[in-house]
Amino acid sequence: MNVRDVLAIHTTGLGKRYGSSWALQDFSASVPRGHVTALVGPNGVGKTTLLKLLVGLCAPSAGEAEVLGRVPQQSEEFLASIGYLAQDVPLYKQLSADDHLEIGARLNRDWDATAARARLAALRIPTNRPVATLSGGQRAQVGLSLVLAKRPQLLLLDEPMAALDPLARREFLASLTAAVADEGLSVVVSSHLLHDLERVCDHLILLAASRTQLCGDIDEVLAEHRTLVGPRRAVNEIEPRLTVVKATQTPRQTRLLVRVDGPVLDPSWEVTEVGLEDIVLAYMEQDEELANGQLVEIGHAQ
């Protein structure tokens, strides 16, 4: 198999059930290598579950996953190819960053501590004190350095910037993108901070109602969605080619966010482009309406 053709992630119908409820259902996606992918969706939709499934921290209840061409498994080879940073950045509290680097050197076959130390020094993070004495932002940088030092091919980050102030977030993203530029790393990062993600990501996975809603290149997603504004009309009068994601009605006006597969022909619509944040929020709103028991039939009379 040509190494270049191996997808970073390939899943079919992947699902995970805890007891009688599904944390993730019917997740199918393909993500090629060399991209920074944003994983977005409402809280509880299954983002953490998905990342854990991809890393092998839990086993699927349904479907299949392949990461870098391999089923996630407990083998040193597989573990060496991936890097994972959990949301709370677990570190050995009483040990220093230097200790962690020392330990990492002994646990991993491929280990580059030089770059890690250089990065931490440039950020002026003390490496000889117990990590419990560092701030949240500093700990996140230590966690990131540890995971980058093992030189993985795919990096999976679960809300790594949740507890960081804006400056710390900017520094985190800069470290991350520098590593991507340097090593051709593939990254999947789950986050709520859409603004930050938009700068850094060129690929998107959107989960809502525990299912995939969107998966693809961000530029394509932007090209496929439009806002339509026009005189009030019933939603079922809209061309069937348009998938309505969000409809806002006033007595005089209809505003739609739609997914299109070609130009909009009806001249009574004013068509404008939509920003990524608005697209994501529209899909997330759908999820909420379904969760609240209102069965909203998109594309039919309301």
Binding site: L176, V180, A181, E198, R199, V200
Partner: protein, 134 residues
Amino acid sequence: MLRQSISFQLNPDSGVPAYLQLAQQVKQAIRMGILDVGDKLPTVKEVVAEVAINPNTVMKAYWQLEHEGLVEGHQGVGTFVSRRPSGPPPDTQARLARRLERWVQSARSEGLNDESIEAMLRATLSGSRVERTA
């Protein structure tokens, strides 16, 4: 202080795609004489470490500049300025800028607000004629 030749700034809400903003900033630096023919542009890694954006965006910007013939990329060495963008030299630009300033001042004193000035400018650029309302 950064060690690379120029620094960048992105305005994500401006509506202008990121890669075009970067390309424009390079062109402006060349026009103003900050970058000269033969100077090396910052590496993708340097830009990304400063601005925290996707490396592909930087590469797109540099390809755009290469497409316009302004820079040349040499594998393993870097990207270098190969020619100045067509247009008048910096002092001519400064002179034209001062004239524009004076025009804007007189337009405002005649009662035109900034929005109208912008609209008039855009219309003029796209070549249509505009009727001035008395």
